[in-house]
């Protein structure tokens, strides 16, 4: 009896500990969110800068009190979309290759390589972009500089590979064998089995990977900063135009800014936050809609 009681107590204590961890995690997650929103909404609430001008403006000149981010939003959306369109399919297919088609040794090697890719700091991706991608883009570009939307998309697409590949690969590999057996026994080919049974069964995990990958694409700063050009105005109209994604705007100037300028950089963060929240919602909806039941 005593022992049972002690065990129960122990159980409660550890559950309490889990709760504390969850609490810390949740609080820190919420605190960041609150911090960003608090600082970012201040200028509009105190009316030190009109929200509409902020959202619709197409020029960013802090010195002349011009803080328009519309052209950056456009740039961010294009860059992210482009990176997803190129990066996500490649990543998922690579994950499929690793877990379904490669032998266990080859799979291990590729997995290792992909993890390595995740470990390379973004600064180096930037340096790589500046050293290889930008000059190459310059060669085919009608513009005089290689810093462009295209370079940004390419660098980002590369950078989301590791996240999406590793998480997708993990969730594909835990799909029960019985599903595969069932599918093969119905005369499905390997490819059909993969695309009709395995991938749908792993959907939730893959989506997590995609969302985290998109998160990385949207949130990436250091690499992008070197290859995007960061102009102070101009809505991109071609792949070869320079862009200034929201993130680099924040990172470029945060060290220097103060007052309204700084607050509006936080506001830029809020826009980013809302941006990814929307994507998140859409992706979640898509997943749910597909699962049916």
């Amino acid at each position: 009896m005593q022992a049972i009681k002690r065990k129960k107590q122990q159980e409660k204590i550890i559950e309490g500990f889990f709760l504390v961890c969850a609490f810390v995690a949740v609080v820190s997650v919420l605190a960041i969110t609150a911090f960003v929103f608090y600082n970012g909404l201040k200028p509009f609430i105190s009316n030190s800068y009109p929200l509409w001008n902020f959202l619709s403006g197409v020029e960013w000149r802090p010195g002349s009190n011009m803080y328009g981010i519309f052209y950056m939003i456009v740039g961010s959306v294009f860059a992210t979309l482009g990176a997803i369109l190129i990066g996500v399919p490649i990543a998922i297919l690579t994950a499929v290759f690793i877990s379904e088609m490669a032998g266990s040794r080859v799979g291990k090697i590729i997995r290792f390589a992909v993890e390595l890719l995740a470990g390379i700091p973004s600064v180096l991706y930037g340096v790589f972009g500046l050293g290889i991608i930008v000059p190459y883009v310059l060669k085919i570009s009608p513009m005089a500089q290689g810093e462009s939307l295209l370079s940004t998309i390419l660098v980002l697409a590369i950078m989301i590979l590791p996240t999406v590949v590793s998480i997708s690969e993990t969730s594909i590999s835990v799909v029960p064998k019985a599903y595969r057996e069932g599918s093969y026994a119905l005369g499905a080919s390997k490819i059909q089995t993969i695309f009709k049974v395995v991938l749908p069964a792993a959907r939730s995990g893959i989506m997590t990977g995609v969302i985290l990958g998109i998160g990385r694409a949207i949130g990436e700063t250091m690499a992008v900063m070197l290859v995007c050009g960061n102009p102070i105005a101009g809505i991109p109209t071609s792949l070869f135009d320079q862009v200034r994604p929201l993130t680099t705007n924040i990172a470029l100037e945060m060290g220097y800014a103060s007052g309204v300028h700084q607050e509006l950089l936080y506001s830029t963060g809020v826009v980013l936050f809302i941006f990814i929240m929307l994507i998140n919602l859409i992706v979640n909806k898509l997943v749910k809609a597909k699962v049916g039941s």
Partner: protein
């Protein structure tokens, strides 16, 4: 048959995608190696980034040369990347050391210098102390700049040797420990990985366990999950600002190792929570049922069945986290600083390898150096990956057979 053609086509696309992934990887790694490998050597790994000036106090005592001239004159010991021999060496008995004049060069300077190229076992330099009485370890490659107030600048090697030989009794020598290496950055990086994982892993994993296994699924949990996912897209510089406002200023931790690692831990939390949750969700219900039906408590079920099954997924999260810590720059810039020194305490600043690479790329435009640092980072990531794989395989009792 059209199906097999279709399959073949899709297969081709899969191979192509994998090929692209791999060639991108090879290309990037190749780029980094080609650019950086020229700078990587033992000295690069073991020297500090900045030169360190100091005054060494010791006493002159005659120590005769005990190795033969030929060996002495063999100056292969010089690292030609940093020091190229110009004159010398000359052996000086009263400090028991041979000196040479070299062209000295590191990431920030290029100049002529007198360096120690050989030290006798009981050379007086071996027993030097600083002005507070702490022993200074003078080694080969250390630069000598003045002795008892007599500056060596603009003197020839012979003149320097004469000047030194003329001294007796107390010696006060201005020495410079050579720079150009990244030892302190390597150590800071390891500290940073260790500290931030130490905080983020338990909090993240146990937090995720709470959210999936204990918390009633509902609005609140969904909101948290949603916030966590959305945070993944917030640029780390914003976390850096938060860390700056909270850890550095509000908690008064200063710009330091601890502020940096706590900030990174906060960055890692969303990733760890989401991946762990996902891993836990894939554990079949039948295992939980089986365990509970055997009278196991919820906790026992979690630790003995659920977690071990989830090990591969959690390991992925850990690997991604390590990558993230090692690769973080923006947030650390604001919370841990850019000081290339080994942090003495948790509350000292320090710069990780990535911050250093970022700095040299940004300020000095020194791509080779940035890539050299990159090579070291890649090696560290490989080692950490292997270590965590081994650990996870050890823990992964279930997938063994």
């Amino acid at each position: 048959m059209s199906r097999s053609i279709k399959d073949l086509f899709v297969k081709g696309i899969i191979y192509l995608a994998t090929g692209i992934t791999l060639s991108v990887l090879l290309f990037i790694i190749g780029f980094i190696f080609v650019q950086g490998i020229g700078l990587v050597n033992w000295d690069f790994l073991t020297r500090d980034f900045n030169e360190k000036v100091g005054y060494a106090f010791t006493e002159a005592k005659d120590v005769p040369l005990s190795i033969d001239e030929e060996k002495l004159n063999d100056i292969n010991s010089l690292d030609n990347r940093y020091e190229t021999a110009l004159e010398g060496p000359i052996y000086i008995e009263n400090i028991g050391a041979a000196i040479s004049k070299v062209a000295y060069k590191n990431h920030s300077t290029e100049r002529e210098q007198i360096v120690v190229t050989y030290l006798e076992k009981d050379s007086s330099l071996q027993s030097a102390i600083d002005s507070t009485g702490v022993e200074i370890k003078i080694g080969p490659d250390y630069m000598l700049q003045s002795i008892n107030g007599k500056d060596f600048t603009d003197l020839s090697l012979d003149e320097v040797a004469e000047t030194i030989a003329a001294q007796s009794g107390e010696l006060k020598i201005k020495i410079v420990q050579p720079g150009g290496g990244i030892k302190s950055n390597i150590i800071t990086t390891l500290y940073m990985v260790l500290l931030s994982l130490l905080v983020a892993l338990p909090v993240g994993i146990f937090g995720a366990i709470y959210l999936t296994e204990y918390a009633k699924p509902g609005k609140l949990v969904n909101i948290i999950r949603f916030a966590a996912e959305s945070l993944a897209g917030i640029p780390s510089i914003i976390f850096g600002l938060f860390g700056m406002a909270f850890f550095v200023v509000a908690l008064n931790f200063q710009i330091s190792l601890i502020s940096g690692s706590l900030t990174v831990a906060v960055i890692l939390l969303p990733v760890i929570i989401r991946s762990t949750e996902e891993a836990l969700k894939t554990v079949p219900m039948a295992f939980r049922e089986g365990s509970l039906a055997l009278g196991a408590t919820k906790l026992q079920t979690i630790f003995k069945v659920v977690l071990p099954c989830a090990v591969p997924g959690i390991a992925t999260a850990v690997l991604l986290s390590i990558g993230r810590v090692v690769g973080e720059s923006a947030a650390l810039l604001l919370t841990a600083g850019t000081v290339a020194q080994i942090p003495g305490t948790l509350f000292s600043p320090g710069s990780t390898l990535t911050v250093q690479a970022y700095y040299v790329a940004k300020e000095e435009g020194n791509i080779e150096l940035a890539c050299a640092v990159g090579i070291v980072i890649i090696v560290i990531v490989i080692v950490l990956n292997i270590l965590s794989r081994i650990t996870s395989d050890k823990l992964d009792v279930f997938n063994k057979k």
